[in-house]
């Protein structure tokens, strides 16, 4: 199937007039930049299967270097400004249209159902801009240049740990950059093809390209969302901790409701949920609890929930039926994988205690309670686990929590050094009040950071919190970008 299309499209290019070929020749220099700057690998990153024929045709072009076949490949010019690096070069169509240009020209964006290529292109270009903003594009490019310079230093591998870190970061930023480049290129290629089809009155090709643009437009929302989670730790699993505020049983009940909200949310997303530690309240609810949430981007999403959550309702624990306000604090800690540097822990710095142990122990006692508390003496940081069925496993679990807490503490410390990170990181610890849940006298859940609100608290408490999370993450990144622009 694809080979047929290749034949068809290459025969199509044989009709290309010479004026275009001249353009190609005159821009040959830039063309080289393009080819080297955007290796064929990039084309492979176009995931949509319906587009495979394009990639194949590109390979075809490179393989049979017949001059006319090369027109399409060379149709893209690279507008290189004097000081920018190769990676920052801007892509354009054969007649000089760029993604920013599309946005700037304010083409009307119509409904998806309208078959208007300009409308689709404008919508996609806007998405690309959103994605770039969320990736903090300019900062990413600067960082990438910096890392490239460091990678080229001959003495880099004298410090393998540092070198590994540099090359890992470079690889991950490079991948992000290439994904966006691929999107841009795909869009511009389609536009070129549509123009070509129109020139040649090829309705079939035009409608195919239109369909392809529509598909891109539909996928772009998802890509925008992906870009929200571009932080280094976002893909990690995480711990979510909930702690009841002051106020006795009512706030312990609230803490339990909040924890339940996250359990349901995690289960909805297909994440694995394990209770690591749970301290029940005397009458109801929990004093505190820690769950482990396993799955892709668990931290990236859940980090938006860190802070104090406030509840207003008529307390079922108050015989006087009065209105109560309670608080529960939520912390979210990433569980860094093997690829990350961990804070080293000296065994001699640890005090491991049997939790709630009393009496003679040993053979005297038969208990299924084998909770363990580990205290990291230098920092005073503790971790407890009581929900595993053996002491050994409780200890392992508590150690993992302790490691993550120490890692997070170290990240926060480093973030203070790199001031530009401070904003997003301080938000992750126990923080300010972020959301208000009112069950009486009216019903509403409102995020105090974004003003995002929902009038059905039940659905929220049943775990429908994605709206809050996404609106916060977008707001956070937009804010970051604004700050950066101001300081730039």
């Amino acid at each position: 199937m694809s080979s047929l299309i290749v034949k068809r499209s290459s025969s199509r290019f044989s009709h290309v007039d010479f004026s275009k070929f001249h353009i190609f020749l005159s821009l040959n220099q830039n063309h080289k930049v393009l080819v080297s700057g955007l290796p064929p690998v990039l084309i492979k990153t176009i995931k949509n299967p319906s587009w495979s024929y394009l990639s194949v045709s590109r390979y075809h072009n490179f393989a049979h270097l017949s001059g006319k076949d090369k027109v399409l490949a060379s149709g893209f010019r690279v507008l290189k400004s004097l000081f920018s690096t190769q990676s920052a070069a801007e892509l354009s169509t054969s007649d000089g249209i760029t993604v920013d240009g599309i946005v700037a020209s304010n083409w009307t964006i119509l409904d998806e159902s309208e078959s208007d290529w300009k409308s689709h292109a404008a919508a996609i270009a806007q998405s690309i801009q959103v994605i770039k903003r969320r990736l903090q594009w300019k900062k990413l490019m600067v960082r990438l240049d910096l890392l490239s310079v460091q990678l080229n230093k001959p003495d880099l591998w004298d410090d393998p740990v540092h070198a590994g870190k540099i090359s890992r970061e470079h690889g991950s930023l490079m991948a992000k950059m290439k994904k966006v480049r691929a999107l841009e290129q795909e869009l511009l290629e389609h536009i070129d093809m549509i123009k070509l089809a129109r020139e040649e009155d090829d309705n079939e090709l035009e409608s195919e390209m239109l369909k392809a643009l529509l598909q891109m437009r539909r996928n772009s929302n998802e890509k925008e969302q992906e870009a929200l989670l571009s932080g280094e730790q976002d893909s990690c699993p995480c711990y979510i901790e909930v702690q009841a505020g002051a106020g006795g049983t009512e706030s312990m009940d609230w803490a339990k409701m909040v924890m339940q909200m996250y359990k349901s949310w995690a289960q909805r997303h297909g994440y694995g949920v394990t209770v690591v530690d749970e301290m029940p309240g005397e009458i109801a609810g929990i004093k505190r609890a820690t769950i482990k949430v396993d799955g892709e981007y668990a931290f990236g999403y859940a980090k938006a929930e860190a802070g104090v959550h406030r509840l207003v309702r008529i307390s079922p624990f108050d015989s006087g039926k009065r209105r109560h306000t309670s608080f529960a604090a939520v912390a979210v800690i990433p569980i860094l994988g093997d690829g990350f540097t961990h804070v080293p822990i000296n065994e001699s710095d640890l005090r491991i205690e049997r939790f709630r142990a009393g009496g003679a122990g040993g053979q005297h006692v038969n208990t299924t309670e084998s909770a363990v508390r580990i205290v990291h003496i230098p920092t005073g940081i503790t971790a407890t686990c009581q929900n595993e069925r053996s002491q050994h496993m409780n200890k392992d679990s508590a150690m993992a929590v302790l490691q993550s807490r120490l890692d997070q503490r170290e990240m926060a410390r480093q973030a203070q050094v790199n001031a530009h990170h401070t904003q997003s990181l301080t938000d992750i610890g126990w923080g300010n009040q972020i959301r208000s849940y009112v069950l009486h006298p009216y019903r509403m859940v409102k995020d105090l950071r974004t003003n995002y609100e929902v009038t059905n608290p039940d659905s929220v408490l049943e775990g429908e919190i994605d709206g809050f999370i996404l609106s916060y993450l977008s707001a956070l990144l937009d804010k970051d970008e604004d700050c950066r622009n101001l300081s730039a």
């Binding site: 122990g361 038969n366 002491q391």
Partner: protein, 360 residues
């Protein structure tokens, strides 16, 4: 066995009578299969299971702290956690047990499922939970297993349920082995192995090099230990022998690189006041250490002197500080010259629990 009894000068007449009254022959004892390993053949309406869960929960709640006050037994919170684990072990699909355990309000998530598959009948579940609360039958006997270190060991009446404290013996051995390669390649013994816990724990450490022989006087313990060894596929490195302490090890006298043991160490006088789960249900044979509780520990010390190679390592669990100090004093003075580098190690509750040392 009679041989063992007659030679055991410390052997209390009391435990001997318990023992002799119930000697099944080794070949007839088939270990019970733990609940979580049984086939899920019982189809039960989820509403009926919910009913049982509600009943069991309220029974657990009714306990409050009364067991704690009477003999330091479990409180409601702990019993509720055990209830969740019982459910986890009974249900075919473990993850659906979380629907129950997370919160009562989460029952909804099971509504879509008409029937659930259980490894045990609902009647038996009622029966078992009643036994747990009313008879104080240990939870581990109810589900037929104990989670110990990263192992899940089969246990049943007649076999001591391995304690969390005892997990540390494996760490002590692990430390000793990592400091001395020779220890990892030789022959070890776990005497009075019970469920086989320590033997299996240290077999997993020295898997490719060393071997472990586990002994126990109790035929039930021997068959349970064998079952557990097989379940972890360690029969090539771990051998279980029946007999009194070192009796079955005569062929390897002086050849052991390590001896570990958690012998009975509770003073006889304390037995009647034990927590109900222990005193009423666990084998006295595995608990009663004679008048001062130290009879078997002393026997082990003199036995270890004969059985260990020079440089061989031992780790024994004790009743606490008093026994630890007594043993160290005994080894330094009464049988001076046999052992060196004696050390007392505390458990995670801060109680001096273990004595370790090396054969000189």
């Amino acid at each position: 066995m009679k041989l063992g009894l007659s030679r055991a000068c410390f052997y209390s007449s009391c435990s001997a009578s318990i023992f002799s009254s119930s000697i099944p022959s080794l070949t007839t004892i088939k270990p019970k299969i733990p609940l979580f390993l049984r086939p899920p053949t019982y189809s039960v309406a989820s509403s009926d299971l919910q009913k049982w869960h509600g009943w069991a929960k309220s029974l657990a709640s009714s306990v409050g702290s009364s067991f704690v006050e009477s003999d330091d037994g479990p409180d409601s919170t702990l019993l509720c956690r055990e209830l969740n684990w019982l459910l986890e072990d009974s249900l075919e699909n473990r993850s659906s047990s979380s629907c129950f355990s997370f919160a009562a309000c989460n029952y909804d998530s099971l509504d879509g499922i008409e029937n659930v598959m259980l490894r045990i009948s609902l009647d038996d579940l009622y029966q078992l939970w009643k036994q747990r609360i009313e008879e104080r039958r240990p939870f581990q006997y109810i589900v037929g297993c104990e989670h110990w270190r990263d192992l899940v060991l089969s246990v049943q009446e007649g076999v001591l349920i391995p304690r969390p404290e005892t997990e540390l013996i494996v760490d002590l051995v692990s430390d000793a082995v990592s400091n001395n390669e020779e220890l990892g390649q030789g022959l070890w013994a776990d005497v009075g192995t019970g469920s086989g816990a320590i033997a299996i724990g240290i077999s997993k450490i020295s898997r490719s090099y060393g071997r472990v022989i586990a002994t126990d006087l109790s035929p039930v313990a021997v068959s349970v230990a064998m079952f557990n060894v097989q379940r972890y596929g360690l029969q090539h490195v771990t051998e279980v022998r029946q007999g009194y302490w070192f009796e079955p090890l005569k062929d390897v006298e002086g050849q052991l690189v390590g001896i570990v043991s958690n012998p009975p160490y509770i003073p006889s006088d304390n037995i009647s006041g034990l927590q109900a789960e222990v005193g009423r249900h666990e084998p006295r044979l595995a608990l009663d250490g004679g008048a001062s509780g130290i009879d078997y520990l002393l026997h082990l010390c003199s036995g270890a002197a004969a059985m260990l190679k020079p440089g061989g390592f031992f780790a024994f669990e004790t009743n606490g500080e008093k026994q630890c100090k007594f043993l160290v004093d005994y080894m330094q003075n009464d049988i001076a010259g046999s052992f060196c580098n004696l050390n007392i190690v505390s458990d995670f509750a801060g109680i001096q629990r273990f004595v370790t040392g090396f054969r000189q």
